[in-house]
């Protein structure tokens, strides 16, 4: 395969992994609903245990997203992680605290008390997801970095990425993900939990979070379609500004526009049957919709000669899939490795199916001495 095809393939994979991660943040959303949906200690234990079977997979997905970026687009890894230092560090701190919270929350002698670990879960679910959204937003809105002739980079502001919080687009992007994850969290509980007292509270949560999400989503989508984007000349690599770049890309690649529509409709349908019929399968529709929509939004960034990480200080430093990727050889090796993806997806599917055969109840949690 030629280099460009490999770069596009890898951008596709990174997009899908990113989208799967966004879908899997229903775990984080669920964590922020602990006290909204759980009114008694037993109910909260049930919620935690329901999420507790899944949280590691979300965590792994984030690690995988990082690993795939490192292997396929090492320049992004260097420029963004090493530049927007404070933002990425803050995100990592939000995930470090999650990893211990499930296991230690209920354990006797846990030093800081149950509530403390619940707060950690809340921070992970809210601040963690918000910051990830802000970071993803900067893929559209750009960062303050310069890449030199030797491809070594530095950030030009001492705020090292925190300045992204001043941009309303990034903030909206972050909040959008927060409400999306809460919406998905609620729909996940609808699927996974049999306790009627909790199910009865879910409808309202879905409605409220969906309303917030929808407003933010329309704002973000509108902004993306009508913003000035950067485009590069594949022959010379020179970057220039193009008005309504992403709208043009959608028109250049109408199948992406169609898929975006499919994604959004699926998401809406999931929410609709979740609210109207408290349907257990609502999460599958909203989840599929989320994965497709996020994938398409990522693809539009990387394909069609787009710049996927604009530099706000030196437009020619901006990153494209062509100027930031691994070598032809490495991308080929990694493409062979990527054949493992269906294998992994299959065993995850079968394990989930056997673990989630029946919905969870308070009694089940109580009877399991290993519960979280």
């Amino acid at each position: 395969m030629d280099l460009l095809t490999l770069q596009q393939y890898w951008w596709f994979l990174v997009s899908v992994i990113g989208a799967l991660f966004v879908f899997m943040t229903f775990v984080q959303g669920g964590q922020t609903l602990l006290y909204t949906l759980g009114k008694t200690e037993d109910e909260r234990d049930l919620l935690i245990n329901s999420l507790g079977r899944k949280w590691e997979l979300t965590f792994t997905m984030l690690v995988m997203f990082g690993g795939a970026l490192f292997a396929a687009f090492p320049l992004f890894y260097a420029v963004s992680f090493g530049g927007a230092y404070y933002v990425w560090m803050a995100i990592l701190f939000c995930f470090i605290i999650q990893a211990v919270a499930y296991e230690y929350r209920k354990k006797p002698d846990n030093l800081y008390g149950e509530k403390f670990y619940e707060k950690l879960l809340y921070i992970n679910g809210s601040l963690g997801i918000f910051l990830i959204g802000v970071a993803l937003g900067t893929l559209f809105s750009g960062g303050n970095f310069i890449v030199n002739d030797s491809h070594l980079s530095h950030w030009t502001l001492q705020s090292y990425g925190l300045e992204a919080l001043l941009n309303p687009f990034n903030v909206a992007f972050g909040l959008m993900l927060v409400f999306l994850s809460r919406l998905q969290g609620a729909l996940y509980f609808l699927n996974n939990i049999a306790e009627q007292s909790i199910v009865a509270r879910i409808k309202k949560v879905v409605t409220v979070n969906f309303a917030m999400f929808l407003v933010l989503f329309l704002f973000v989508l509108g902004a993306v379609l009508f913003m000035d984007g950067l485009v590069y000349d594949p022959a010379t690599g020179v970057v220039s500004v193009k008005s309504m770049k992403f709208l043009h890309s959608f028109l250049d690649m109408p199948f992406l526009l169609l898929l975006l529509l499919v994604g959004v409709v699926s998401l809406l349908w999931g929410v609709f049957i979740g609210i109207k019929k408290t349907a257990q399968k609502a999460i599958w529709f909203s989840g599929f919709g989320t994965i497709v929509t996020v994938t398409i939004l990522m693809l539009i960034l990387g394909w069609d000669n787009s710049v996927y990480y604009p530099s706000l200080v030196d437009i020619q430093s901006s990153l494209t899939i062509q100027n930031s990727s691994g070598s032809h050889y490495t991308l080929t090796v990694m493409s062979v490795v990527s054949l493992l993806v269906p294998v992994v997806a299959t065993y995850i599917f079968f394990v989930w199916r056997s673990m989630d055969k029946t919905q969870m109840t308070i009694d089940e949690v109580k009877s399991d001495p290993h519960h979280y």
């Binding site: 079977r53 590691e56 997979l57 965590f59 792994t60 984030l62 690690v63 995988m64 990082g66 690993g67 490192f70 292997a71 090492p74 320049l75 890894y77 963004s80 992680f81 090493g82 530049g83 230092y85 404070y86 990425w88 560090m89 990592l92 701190f93 995930f95 470090i96 211990v100 499930y102 296991e103 230690y104 354990k107 002698d109 846990n110 030093l111 030199n148 002739d149 030797s150 491809h151 070594l152 980079s153 530095h154 090292y160 691994g326 070598s327 050889y329 490495t330 090796v333 490795v337 493992l340 993806v341 992994v344 065993y347 995850i348 394990v351 056997s354 673990m355 399991d368 001495p369 290993h370």
Partner: protein, 509 residues
């Protein structure tokens, strides 16, 4: 892009801090996953419910350890980007691949089957559960494999070439990277150290029960598994350690010299069994490096080159050069390295201005000296020497303790086979107090491997000074302290929870 010393120091300190914390938990996971898999296999084979209780109990402790291992682990991958961004570009084309493969092959396996192992007792069949437990063990060890392929490559970079146009190293042969002898020996040595650590843990905790005269049967069962698994794996640990040292001798002679405090190279070089370094010793002076030392003659030549008469170069030989043994001095290497760095710069400028003839001339000069490019970034020859005291003491601590573990397993197995273990109080106390020594040996091992590699991020290719991210040193200082506080806070909670669970004991489960 040169960085300030302050930035390098903080970046290194942060990486060391997070890696050492992470490494407090990984070895136990690597080994305990296997130990519980063995126990569960016995349960499935015999159908004896007591073995199920035993399995579940150790699994409970594993979970506590696993959680904090994950917490401290996620940062490691991302730190290459946040704190070593030049590194990420210069070698990311090779280094990123094993990290990504680790995620895909190992982490998903671990996290998916971990949930079955803990919550699937009544949801899946006995057999499926056992398979899941084994897959967690295999997954965690696979993850160690890929991370050590990456680390082995830092110690002995192979399978790549430098591309002057992109100014980075690019992978040329995946199999060379994967089957790098340094990576293979590192993997085997490291995972076997994990098996030994877990055996020490199970042995020591069980000894505590025997000392308290409670849960006797459970403790005996556990001791049998731990001391036999520990004995086999510590013999293996010593064998793989020997191979590791051989690899160091071949590819990192400076590290080997520092590990042994050897300044003047010699044939039939000995290993210092016990020694105290003279702090006044400088490179090139006539002082004896040791105040006191007991040496095993010929052992270092044998360990390093599997030949009693082999010449082992010392620090002085490596710094000043030794013509007789064909060793180039660091000063010469630096000179060649500077030629390479300048030629690369010239090549770029000529290419930019379209001067193809001069560009190809500069490229030729570069290629002739490319091998030494890393040395071109050093300030003075002494910079090529790692911290001798740190390398020497960590190495000797590790080896000494490793030998002690073997002896302990041997005695424990003997007394538990003749059913006398519970009567030997001295042995039970020894087993208990050896748990912390296991952790000391683990950390010492990492210090030898990583501090002994200095000043290189990638051996001979990229000094740490060139590898760091270009951020303000105060930013790294801030995150360093945040990590220090957070990880310490979590560690204290973890230890408290663990001790409480041990006190509660298996009957409650």
């Amino acid at each position: 892009m040169e960085h300030t010393d302050m930035l390098i120091d903080w970046s290194r300190a942060q990486f060391a801090l997070t890696a050492l914390y992470h490494w407090l938990f990984v070895p136990l996971t690597l080994g305990l996953t296997f130990i519980v898999a063995i126990m569960e296999t016995i349960y499935v084979k015999t159908g004896d419910e007591k073995w199920k209780t035993t399995t579940k109990y150790w699994m409970g402790l594993l979970a506590i350890n696993f959680a904090i291992g994950l917490a401290t682990g996620i940062i490691m991958e991302f730190e290459f980007g946040t704190n070593w961004s030049n590194y990420s570009w210069i070698v990311g084309d090779i280094f990123g691949a094993p990290l990504a493969i680790e995620g895909l092959m190992a982490f998903f396996m671990e996290s998916t089957f971990f949930a079955v192992m803990f919550f699937g007792w009544d949801k899946v069949s006995k057999k499926m559960h056992l398979i899941s437990t084994w897959l967690v063990a295999i997954g965690s060890n696979l993850s160690a494999l890929w991370i050590l392929v990456a680390n082995g490559w830092m110690q002995h970079p192979v399978g790549m070439h430098f591309n002057p146009d992109t100014a980075r190293n690019e992978m040329q042969n995946f199999w060379e990277v994967f089957l790098n002898p340094n990576a293979v020996s590192k993997f085997l040595h490291t995972v076997s150290s994990g098996y030994v650590m877990a055996s020490l843990f199970v042995l020591g905790v069980s000894a505590w029960y025997l000392l308290k005269k409670r849960d006797i049967q459970f403790a005996r069962r556990s001791i049998i598994v731990a001391s036999s698994f520990g004995l086999i794996t510590s013999m293996y640990l010593i064998t793989t350690g020997d191979e590791s040292a051989h690899q160091v001798a071949l590819n990192q002679p400076m590290k080997l010299a520092a590990m042994e405090g050897l300044y003047d190279g010699e044939k039939r070089a000995g290993i210092v069994a016990f020694g105290v370094l003279d702090t006044a010793k400088q490179i090139g002076d006539d002082l004896d490096p040791f105040v006191v030392s007991v040496e095993i003659p010929g052992a270092l030549s044998f360990l390093g080159y599997h030949d009693l008469n082999a010449f082992v170069p010392g620090i002085d030989d490596l710094v000043k050069g030794n013509e007789k043994h064909g060793i180039m001095s660091i000063a010469q290497k630096m000179q060649k390295g500077k030629i390479a760095v300048n030629a690369l710069g010239a090549y770029k400028n000529y290419k930019k201005s379209g001067d193809i003839i001069n560009a190809s001339k500069a490229l030729k000069t570069f290629e002739a000296n490319e091998k030494y490019m890393g040395y071109g970034y050093l300030q003075k020859p002494q910079d090529a020497v790692p911290n001798v005291a740190l390398s020497f003491y960590s190495f000797h601590t590790m080896v000494g303790l490793g030998t002690w573990f073997l002896v302990l397993f041997l005695i424990s197995l003997y007394f538990s086979m003749i059913n006398e273990m519970h009567n030997k109080k001295w042995l039970l106390y020894l087993a208990l107090f050896t748990i912390p020594l296991g952790y000391v040996a683990q950390e010492a091992g990492w210090i030898v491997a990583e501090a002994g590699r200095q000043p290189w991020a990638i051996q001979d290719l990229l000094p740490v000074g060139m590898a760091a991210s270009n951020v303000a040193s105060t930013s790294v200082m801030i995150t360093f302290w945040l990590f220090a506080v957070l990880f310490t806070g979590l560690l204290i909670a973890e230890v408290k929870i663990m001790l409480k669970q041990i006190k509660i004991g298996p009957e409650e489960h």
